[in-house]
């Protein structure tokens, strides 16, 4: 039998974990990444990774983690994958520990855990406030070990352009471009996985790395892969607005005791350290006495928006609230969240250890993504090594990490992303192996003309982009897309504005045809690849907006005031029968996965029922 090769697209946590699993199974992997994999966006994750290891005597259990996650996602997450993930979590944390991740420790030398949003347990393992960096490095080191042994061939500074498909529609490889030499090449594979992260740059400025354009997922969608739950975009409550990006201030700041407040007096211009305690309004603590500052992100974001926009009580009358850690000893802050303290210090200039930070919500994460499936096993977790796990709607194409749609429903809990990435890679790698075993013909049986034609088609596309000599600047179009998406498709959504956004995207798609490519060089020609990416970004922008427009309800991160359920009459909503009736009706109608398929006229949106074998839905309530 010919040697089986697999292609991994993306070298963040999900991709690297899947590579390790493929190598352990004895297979060779071509690893494509637009940057050296050690620079992937996973490196930016700060706060930690969840797992119900229960070392704090709190009676934590994977079942509680499952419940917190499903409830946090307002029952839109795929339930078997969530169960599998939460049960695997303690083992994943131990694995990372064995790989040498410098997790913070307790005095007894055990792993330390901290509080995070949407749970009442200490469940988050952490390495300072650069946990993503430390986890990424651990997997990067293991992959380097396999690379040194000849198992992994890295294609760094290579961009995935699209699939190669055989006559039956099966994905049998990829076309990719060397971003330094502009060479286009076909790469055959038994199976391909997209672990390409989220679409933050579709929103212009976000907490994402500038490489997170979502182009690969967008292209897969344009080639027929289903994209799901696109409208669920997480806006992180605490970021620092900047010219070039919105810099994240980790949820761990609140996990370690950080408090959110505004002055009780509107437009108070006093130095915050001089404002006495009784003149401060800790609005999250007041409204959510149980979870306090650690309500789920969508809840915290809406409250901050409300305080600034509707009440006009933001700091200095502007957008922004205080995030205050000045009551915590500086030594504790340095031991646990130094990474974020330094970011604030470097980019804002104030020392947050002694001066409250000013923060505001910023686009952060996409719960939705390329649609994937799972095969439930008898224990209601994904069946080990089933080829259906992490499988997209296109045979031979897999997706995991932020690029997939499954794990977080309508809102992701903090510190569940690193976990879902690693778990997705962990079960996705073996799924690809099983798939390759089960298909009758390997990619070697595909006529070479199929690969040559695919390559030629892309060469022609880039030749045509190279000829674009119009008047529009691609980077200006990208900024206009980001502005309209941020303005209309983030925290508060209104149908009239969403319709206008669709019009704007159509306008941008039209103007795209009049782009000037700006650069005709044959070495590291960034505009050439960006013009192609931009088209895919428009496609994702359209799917996100249209999915938001058609979902006439509020759920998790998707908030439409026009379609909001009224407040229940009782403190516990289950005690208000009228409200429960309204909730049930709404839930029956809308607790479904949004399915988007590409058509020449734009996205076609349908809805798919969500099986709930693990946990029955209930009202999501944190007050």
């Amino acid at each position: 039998m010919a040697e089986q090769r697999f292609t991994m697209v993306g070298g963040g946590l999900a991709g690297l974990m899947a590579v390790i699993k493929l190598c352990e199974a004895g297979h060779k992997v071509d690893l494509l990444s637009i940057v050296p994999v050690k620079r992937s966006h996973s490196v930016c994750a700060q706060g930690g990774i969840n797992g119900a290891v229960n070392t704090k005597g709190e009676g934590d259990h994977p079942d509680i983690h499952v419940k917190d996650t499903l409830r946090g996602g307002d029952f839109l997450a795929e339930q078997t994958s969530v169960k599998g993930m939460c049960y695997a979590a303690p083992g994943i944390i131990y694995l990372l520990d064995r790989m040498g991740v410098p997790f913070n420790r307790t005095p007894e030398g055990l792993l330390d855990f901290r509080r995070f949003g949407g749970t009442l347990h200490h469940r988050t393992a952490f390495a300072g406030a650069t946990t993503g960096q430390q986890l990424l490095y651990a997997l990067d080191e293991q992959v380097r070990r396999f690379e040194a042994a000849g198992m992994v061939n890295k294609f760094e500074y290579w961009e995935w352009l699209g699939m190669v498909r055989d006559g039956s529609g099966r994905c049998v490889g990829s076309v990719a471009m060397d971003l330094r030499t502009m060479e286009v090449r076909s790469i055959p594979a038994e199976a391909v996985m997209l672990a390409t992260g989220g679409p933050g740059i579709v929103f212009g400025r976000s907490t994402n790395s500038v490489i997170n354009t979502g182009t690969a997922a967008g292209r897969a969608y344009l080639e027929g892969a289903i994209y799901a739950n696109a409208e669920f975009i997480q806006v992180h409550p605490t970021s620092i607005p900047g010219e070039d990006k919105l810099r994240l201030m980790s949820e761990s700041v609140r996990g370690e005791g950080g408090r959110v407040w505004v002055p009780k007096k509107k437009g108070d211009t006093r130095d915050p350290v001089t404002i006495p305690e009784e003149e401060r309004w800790y609005f999250l603590e007041e409204k959510y006495p149980k979870y306090k500052n650690l309500v789920p992100r969508d809840v915290a974001t809406r409250e901050i928006f409300h305080v600034c926009r509707e009440l006009g009580m933001g700091v200095g009358g502007r957008d922004g609230v205080f995030l205050d850690v000045t009551h915590i000893p500086a030594a504790t802050l340095d031991a646990k969240i130094k990474g974020v303290m330094e970011i604030y210090e470097k980019f804002v200039g104030d020392d947050p250890r002694h001066h409250p930070m000013v923060i505001f919500p910023g686009m952060h994460y996409s719960m939705g993504g390329v649609y994937v499936t799972f095969e439930p096993g008898p224990n209601l977790e994904p069946l080990a090594a089933s080829p259906k796990n992490q499988a997209t709607s296109i045979p031979g194409l897999y997706a995991s990490g932020e690029a997939d749609h499954a794990y977080h429903g309508a809102n992701r809990l903090g510190a569940n992303s690193l976990l879902s990435c690693i778990y997705g890679g962990m079960i996705g790698g073996p799924a690809m192996v099983s798939y390759a075993k089960n298909v009758a013909k390997g990619s070697a049986s595909v006529p070479s003309s199929v690969f040559e034609d695919a390559k030629k088609q892309w060469e022609e596309r880039f030749a045509s982009i190279d000829r674009m000599s119009g008047t529009e600047n691609p980077y200006v179009l990208a900024r206009e897309l980001g502005e309209v998406m941020t303005e209309n498709v983030t925290v508060v959504r209104r149908n009239d504005r969403l319709r206008k956004t669709l019009d704007k995207i159509a306008e941008l798609q039209d103007r795209w045809k009049r782009i000037n490519v700006l650069d005709h060089g044959h070495s590291s020609n960034r505009p050439l690849s960006f013009v192609n990416q931009l088209w895919n970004m428009f496609a994702l922008g359209e799917v996100i907006t249209k999915s938001a427009l058609l979902r006439d309800e509020s759920r998790g991160a998707h908030y439409k005031p026009e379609f909001q359920l009224p407040e229940p009459k009782t403190k516990d909503p289950t005690q208000d029968p009228d409200w429960m009736k309204a909730w049930k009706e709404r839930h029956q109608k809308w607790a479904k996965t949004t399915i988007a398929r590409w058509t020449p006229q734009g996205s076609e949106i349908t809805y798919e029922d969500i099986p709930t074998p693990v946990l029955d839905p209930e009202p999501r309530w944190y007050a």
Binding site: C44, I211, D244, D319, V476
Partner: protein
């Protein structure tokens, strides 16, 4: 004021007439084999701007200071918060990360040049492959039996964690190599970063089992003995990693191992070369 401007999330306002402009002198070179020179740009001043946001501004309006259209500048960047290691370059003659180089804290005009110790790719981008190759040479990883479930790792003290954590924040940016007088494009000295990584892994209880493999990786041509102790590396490290302490510690360990190899070498001390199981 529209919603986006109020949020401070999106719209960057265009400066009015009479407002400040910042001049950039940027190294332009289309490829390793083509000639290079500086090109000047004028960018509208904005509060909080940094070098990357200014390069983005040039992308949106690629016209040089002489009013002549030109190609957008090529540079490497990803996270923009000093954790991915992409955007190291020489700014006003000093190597540093461009994302955290705030325009208001720099002397104007601002001169941007690529790192000079690495092969040129284009404009401000260089090829840092040698750093990743060094990580292979010194086996900068923990030998793992496999990723199956084997329970927790070894217990470690809080002080060990503190010591290892800072070493593990190395972002492979290349600043330490750029600043090192011993490094040139045509020699093979590995520089401070991989030496410090050996210390990181040798401090780990499991990693220590293969400490000698890594120390052997530090020996020989291009290894630790090429360090000239100029101590520039520690001064430019954006993560403030105690690189010279690491070099001193590894120097001691390598010296001890050299002696041990010389006098006590027998079959037993030759550990298997660690490839994946």
């Amino acid at each position: 004021m529209d919603e986006a401007t109020k949020v401070g999330l999106t719209t960057e306002s265009r400066p009015q007439a009479g407002e400040k402009w910042v001049t950039f002198r940027i190294w332009r070179q289309e490829s390793a084999s083509s000639p290079g020179d500086f090109e000047e740009f004028r960018v509208p001043w904005r509060k909080g701007a940094n070098v990357i946001s200014s390069l983005m501004e040039i992308q949106r309006n690629p016209v040089n200071a002489a009013g002549k259209p030109t190609t957008p500048v090529t540079w490497d960047a990803a996270c923009l918060e000093e954790v991915c290691g992409s955007c190291a370059m020489n700014i006003n003659g000093r190597v540093r990360m461009a994302c955290s180089a705030l325009v208001d804290k720099l002397e104007w005009p601002i001169t941007l040049e690529p790192m000079r110790k690495f092969p040129m790719v284009r404009d401000l981008t260089v090829d840092r492959t040698r750093m990743f190759e060094s990580l292979k040479r010194v086996k900068a990883w923990i030998e793992l039996d496999g990723t199956h479930n084997l329970g927790p790792g070894p217990r470690q003290s809080q002080s060990e964690q503190i010591q290892r954590y800072v070493l593990s924040t190395c972002i492979t940016c290349g600043s330490c190599l750029e600043a090192c007088p011993q490094i040139t494009q045509d020699n093979d000295f590995m520089g401070a970063a991989p030496i410090s990584q050996v210390r990181l892994f040798n401090l780990h209880p499991t990693g220590a089992m293969h400490a000698e493999d890594r120390l052997h990786g530090l020996m020989g041509p291009g290894g630790i003995q090429d360090c000239g102790k100029a101590q520039n590396c520690v001064q430019v490290c954006p993560k403030e990693i105690p690189l010279t302490t690491s070099i001193a510690a590894m120097n001691r360990d390598v010296t001890k191992l050299v002696v041990k190899d010389l006098f006590f070498k027998d079959k037993e001390t030759e550990t298997a070369v660690g490839g994946p199981a």
